[in-house]
C-alpha cells in the first residue's frame, strides 16, 4: 500500500516536472508565436472579427497557418465548405505529425491520446522531436509546450487585434516574415545530418514547383512526402548506426 502510494507520488512529481520542463523549453518559441500571432490579430480585426470569435478560433482550431487562411477567406456569407477544405489541405501535415508522435505515446491509453493531441502545434511538436532525439521527451513535456504555445498564441493574436491601430501595416516591420523565420529555425532544428541533404533538396524543389503551379497549400504536403519518398528509395544502409562507414559507398 505504502509503496504504491509512493510510486504514484513519484510518478506525479515526474509528470509535473516534465510538464514544467516542456512549458519552459517552449518559451523562446512563445515570443515568436506571439509576434506572428499579432499579425493574425490585426488581419482578423480588419475582417470584422471580435475578440470572442478570435479566442473561439484559437481554442478550437489552434493551428497558426490554417487560421491565417481562414481569416484571409473571411467574407459574408462565410464560405464554410471551402474554408474546411482549405484547412484540410494545410493541416494534412498534422496527419504526419500525429504519426511521428506514435513512439512517444507508446503504451498510453486512448483517453490520454484523445486529451493530449489537441494542443499539438508545429512548435511544441518540433521541440519535442528534437528533445526525443536526445532521448529525453515525454507526453507531459509535449503537453507543457502546448500550453505555453496556446497562451502565447492567444496573447499575441489578442494584442494584435486590440492594438491593431499601432501596427496598421505589419509588413513594414517585416512582421509577415516572422512566421517564415520561425519555421526556418524549426526546420534547421530537425536537420539530421548529411543523409537529409538529397531528400530535403527534392522536397524543396517539389515544393517550389507545386507552389508555382497548384493553387492553395498543397506544396507543404507534396514537398514533405516527396522528401520522405526520396529517403525511402535511397540506398538502404546498415541501420543508421555506423554512419562513417556508410558514406564511402555513396
Amino acid at each position: 500500500m505504502d509503496t504504491t502510494k509512493k510510486g504514484r507520488q513519484a510518478r506525479e512529481n515526474y509528470v509535473k516536472s516534465e510538464f514544467v520542463r516542456g512549458a519552459t523549453a517552449n518559451l523562446p518559441m512563445a515570443a515568436s508565436v506571439a509576434a506572428y500571432g499579432s499579425v493574425l490579430g490585426v488581419l482578423a480585426a480588419q475582417k470584422g472579427l471580435n475578440w470572442l470569435d478570435l479566442m473561439f478560433m484559437n481554442s478550437a482550431v489552434f493551428a497558426g497557418s490554417a487560421q491565417f487562411v481562414m481569416v484571409d477567406m473571411w467574407t459574408h456569407p462565410l464560405p464554410i465548405v471551402e474554408m474546411a477544405l482549405a484547412v484540410l489541405v494545410i493541416n494534412l501535415r498534422y496527419l504526419l505529425i500525429g504519426a511521428s508522435l506514435e513512439p512517444l505515446f507508446a503504451g498510453r491509453t486512448l483517453w490520454c491520446k484523445i486529451f493530449m493531441m489537441h494542443l499539438v502545434a508545429d512548435e511544441n511538436w518540433a521541440i519535442t522531436m528534437a528533445e526525443q532525439r536526445r532521448g529525453k521527451a515525454s507526453v507531459a513535456f509535449l503537453f507543457g509546450g502546448g500550453v505555453t504555445i496556446y497562451l502565447s498564441w492567444s496573447c499575441g493574436t489578442l494584442a494584435g487585434m486590440l492594438g491593431g491601430g499601432f501596427i496598421a501595416h505589419p509588413e513594414v516591420f517585416a512582421l509577415d516574415f516572422a512566421f517564415t523565420a520561425v519555421f526556418t529555425a524549426l526546420a534547421v532544428g530537425l536537420w539530421q545530418g548529411k543523409k537529409d541533404l538529397v531528400p530535403w533538396l527534392v522536397a524543396g524543389g517539389l515544393a517550389l514547383l507545386t507552389h508555382h503551379y497548384l493553387p492553395g497549400k498543397w506544396y507543404i504536403v507534396i514537398g514533405g512526402l516527396a522528401g520522405a519518398l526520396t529517403a525511402m528509395l535511397g540506398p538502404l544502409n546498415a541501420p543508421a548506426v555506423g554512419e562513417e562507414g556508410a558514406n564511402v559507398s555513396s
Partner: protein, 103 residues
C-alpha cells in the same frame, strides 16, 4: 441577422476545428499500423524536416534575393546559438532593413 451570422461562424470554425483535430488524432492512431523499421521508417524520419522545409522555402524564395539571405542568416543563427527567437529577429531585421531602403 445576428443569430444567423453567429450560427455560420460557429459552423465554420467548428468544422475547421473538427478537421484539424481529426488529422492530429488520426495520424497518431493510424501510425500504430505502420512498420517500425526499414525503408518506411527512413521516410518517416526525414518527413518532419522535409515538410517544414517545404513550408518555408516558397515564402523565402518569394521574397527574392534578400529573402534567401534572411532565411540563410536565420538558419545560421539558430545553428550557432540554438535560440529560435534570436534567429527569427535576425531574419526579420534583414527583411525590415531591405524594405526600408527599398523605397
Amino acid at each position: 441577422m445576428f443569430p444567423a451570422n453567429t450560427k455560420q461562424l460557429v459552423l465554420a470554425i467548428g468544422l475547421a476545428a473538427l478537421v484539424t483535430y481529426s488529422l492530429r488524432l488520426g495520424g497518431l492512431l493510424l501510425a500504430s499500423r505502420f512498420p517500425r523499421a526499414g525503408r518506411f521508417r527512413k521516410g518517416m524520419d526525414v518527413l518532419p524536416g522535409a515538410m517544414l522545409f517545404s513550408l518555408v522555402l516558397p515564402s523565402i524564395v518569394g521574397e527574392g534575393f534578400w529573402g534567401v539571405v534572411a532565411g540563410g542568416l536565420t538558419a545560421l543563427t539558430v545553428l550557432r546559438t540554438r535560440n529560435p527567437l534570436l534567429a527569427m529577429l535576425v531574419g526579420m531585421l534583414v527583411i525590415f532593413a531591405v524594405r526600408r531602403m527599398g523605397r
